[in-house]
Symmetry: D2
Subunit: 339 residues, 4 copies
């Protein structure tokens, strides 16, 4: 951390900054230049609050050099982390496409969906039993009953399951149903108590979706909350961010993929369905994500999309999923990977 003092800062003010930093347990190095003094803070400054220092009299700017995240940082673990999901590797050479319906509706729908996922060559299945809906008056998910339907349908095809946890009080139920990957949704990216709980109570892999308008740095820090609790099996999922554009739902931040791959050793996947919000955009966004270096996709697929109970206009069907897998495979090979 570099603290740049104002050109009018007094010796007392400089002294006070040094004392405050030392009280926080870091060493300092004061460099008095011709026009201004620069104080370097040396050591572990992750616990030093930049705002607290900036508020001290005489301080002009505070520049953080070290990253505020530790466990999730690639500095702490230069190799890619490959997460093992019931034997399926995520984050390695092989790309994983996680497919399935937005929401669990009926046992029949889930069985048909599971067959479609399997037939397309996907190895993991997604589906929502608890749904975060903008309106309290629309379908809120099938709940625990839905979890059961999902478990049965996926087991029949030997597919590990990915589903969203919204309420911290439901975690035990998730563990009871042996949910294979817990998804934390975009609206809960900074629900810190939920993050802490999935960090300390389980080793189940967690997909952490990016908040609606979260910076990459905040997202890495949210993951750090999970990691700090002891669970390092974290998968980042880019799903588009809020923007001024109205031609589609969210703006897929494809640049976040190479940035994250540089900053963290953890896997990065992309949800092209929630990003664009339209089935017709899913192929282009999926190809772009893989081309940019993503380790996988989280795709909404429904046996009969126009009968879906929610987000009906963004699901693709089984046949489209197969076509998508073929092209994703082609692009993966160009980049030295496989599906």
């Amino acid at each position: 951390m570099i603290v740049v003092m104002s050109s009018r800062a007094t010796g007392d003010q400089i002294e006070r900054v040094v004392e405050r930093l030392q009280a926080m347990g870091v060493d300092t190095n004061v460099s008095r230049g011709v026009s201004r003094t620069v104080i370097g803070a040396i050591g572990d400054v992750t616990c030093v609050d930049k705002d607290v220092i900036r508020a001290l009299p005489g301080v002009e700017e505070v520049l953080r050099i070290q990253k505020p995240y530790k466990i999730v940082s690639r500095d702490s673990h230069p190799e890619n982390t490959v997460i093992d999901i019931k034997g399926i590797p995520l984050g390695g050479e092989q790309i994983q496409v996680i497919a399935g319906p937005c929401s669990v509706e009926t046992p029949e729908q889930m069985r048909a969906a599971a067959r479609g996922v399997k037939a397309a060559g996907c190895r993991l299945m997604r589906g929502g039993a608890f749904k975060p809906r903008t309106s309290p008056y629309t379908f809120q998910g099938r709940g625990v009953e839905g979890l059961k339907m999902f478990r049965e349908a996926a087991d029949a095809e030997g597919l590990p399951i990915v589903t969203e946890l919204m309420d911290v009080r439901m975690l035990d139920t998730f563990l009871e149903y042996e949910v294979d990957v817990i998804q934390i949704g975009t609206r809960n990216m900074q629900n810190f108590d939920l993050l802490k709980e999935v960090g300390r109570s389980t080793q189940t892999p967690v997909i952490l979706k990016r908040g609606m308008a979260a910076t990459i740095s905040e997202w890495l820090m949210a993951a750090e909350y999970i990691a700090a609790g002891g669970n390092h099996n974290i998968i980042f999922c880019e799903r588009g961010v809020r923007s001024f554009e109205r031609a589609y739902r969210n703006m897929l931040d494809v640049t976040a993929i190479p940035v994250l791959k540089k900053e963290t050793h953890l896997p990065v996947i992309v949800d092209p369905s929630h990003a664009g919000g339209k089935a017709e955009l899913v192929p282009a966004l999926s190809y772009a994500a893989i081309a940019a270096g993503a380790d996988g996709l989280l795709v909404e697929m429904h046996p009969t999309p126009c009968e879906a109970w929610c987000d009906a206009d963004q699901a693709i069907d089984s046949r489209q999923l197969q076509d998508l897998m073929a092209h994703v495979g082609g692009i993966a090979r160009v980049l030295g990977r496989s599906v």
Copy 2:
């Protein structure tokens, strides 16, 4: 709800949309124009999912005419709602400035803060015992112990307290300490299980802060989650939204104030401290908020700002709070209100 069919839509497709709408319990009115057919859905369409209709074959556009929110809508309650907080009215002619420190630190700090709040003529006090921090390695709040310190300091001055609830499992403790106003923070605006719980388990007034990049419509729907549970004592708090601008922390959306006052009968307040993120911006933003029609402010005040444990650079001190109250009073009077 108006469903505009594509100019190439077939009679079968039109029929199917009509059937789907009727299955959802609404009446329809089909108008066949020269170039295209328009279907009107009549009745209560709050439970009709716009996306589900848009996904049907032949549909070009779906336009929602009725608002998707009900209880919080001014249509359902034309008069302003005045919320009673231990005898202090919020939402009426009198403007309320809720002041206090970002976080509860020590009993001494809280006593000094309470005296400052009272001396400035404020009638309600704020303070955080549980703090949502971007980093897991920085100060996370004093917790239950902090709640106790806050209660005691505020009681000594006869001030009702406002404090943030982050974890649904902590609600009973909040009720035990008789927290007078529960604050739901920006990161939890769409933590739907938390909203449902403060809606059905208590009648304690709730301040619902706007999400980092939430639209006004999503914000009203989040409030509707609380209201649908039975608690109608909801206060909206604008606190700035995410933007591209880097000269300050968040962009205060002053336009949201008149828009909300038109859409809802519930009180609207503004947090100028988290908006600008700098103490020097607090007066100008406070005056702007009141001038635009806000019913109150939520201001960070600390007895000795540069010693604050968090957000040190955005707190004003007691003397500045007094000056702020004087100007807020002047502007209020121009608009026919008082402080």
Copy 3:
């Protein structure tokens, strides 16, 4: 400018940065700390390109301490600049409300508008003869003929005129018609050749509207283009920026007002009409702007708003303008100013 070298930077790399900076005419001060070296660049670094330095091997971060703008900076001129517009002061104690129609339509409309502006107590009149329209197929303004109608109507009431210049080739015509204030629209904020021309060819005051998504820093730099040419009579006009919110047209950045008043000595005004995009929002936004410290307003007023040829839903009428002036006056007095 502070250049922070990477902890792995070699002596050669440090040497090269120093040489490059010195070649650009600035002095350097090298401070070798325990973990990293920091190079301070001393002197006038406005012409040093931050990106060029950041691209050099071994550089980790470049921090600009000095502002990149000079003439428009308050550092160069601590007192407020009061611009004289045919005897009307802008930027001083007295607040100016510039009112008039979006576009010049007919001589009758302009005469009625001028009478309304005068009757409300405003001292300056606005009106567009050349209109920047999103579509090439909608009304593009009355052109030179409109300029003439405007000049005549305003002269009859003794009002100086404000009108938008879009095409650099039209500047001579503007000077011929003695336009009193040249407005540069939001879409041309970074039309650098236009800025250079109004900077070097005239001393006519220029209202520089903020670009649709321009940062405050870019805006100040755009003004610096005008100032560098010799014309220092520049007025900043905040008019709302692009955002994700859909309940109104643009998001008025009220925080930009106190930020600009701190950074520059030049006047700052606000256009509440283009910001909200709706007549009903104009009063609240106007009051907020004045309360936040703006030196004036640029308001769309039309004798019969619902007959306006463009932006019909954002114009207020004469009666509403009078009411607005009364409240603006009240707020101004609370802040020690007048209208």
Copy 4:
């Protein structure tokens, strides 16, 4: 266009809307439903201003069904348009990578750059003689002299040239130097007089970069300004938009590619260099762009990037360009295209 009247609209108000629409030359179809009246406007409504209709008393919502753009719309021309640039096709099966330095510096630099572009297998060269710089105090480009250097260096390798036109008064010089593709920069996307001039005075292909925060619809309308003048040789170039994210310069809107390919028959290319703002991000963004369906790329390449006079940290070198071409070719083949 569908005009939805308020449920409280009177017969007179409905009549007035009908009259106003008919006065604008469109037919109307009034459908009186149970709860509200809907008016359909039939015929060419491109010249009908939505805002003017919305401002009429009794109108609740105005929904535009037809697109406001005509010549550039795929509706008007279902096949892809392939633009011929001195024999090089853009918009067809073959992908074009346009490479070259940010700015023209010296004859030697341009010759080395041209050789590098040619050696990598690119068929078109870019370079800036006139530079839009944020600061008036940094390098503004070599001007006409630079244009000459560029022309000579490119001619020696047989490469058509792409360069930016900022000032409408410079168009004749561009035509004199036979610039092969005129680039309109992001800051001039809505400089309507410049657009009109390149529309009516020349048939030279125009690359129209997207404005900093322009919606796709505004961008299409800007192109329509050029097309309406008679020049239909327009190429859209996505270059990233303004966002809240600070980890890179602009957010590449990869979703804009499939959306544009659906809306328009004209070619779409991507500038990965200005999007990310860092050389290390160029490959990932280039692959993503091609995978999403772009017809080409506009890449900054410099013989010795760290000596570049501007944007030094975003240029790749000749060797990196060759590697990029190889991967782009691989991805193109997966999608049935070539480089």
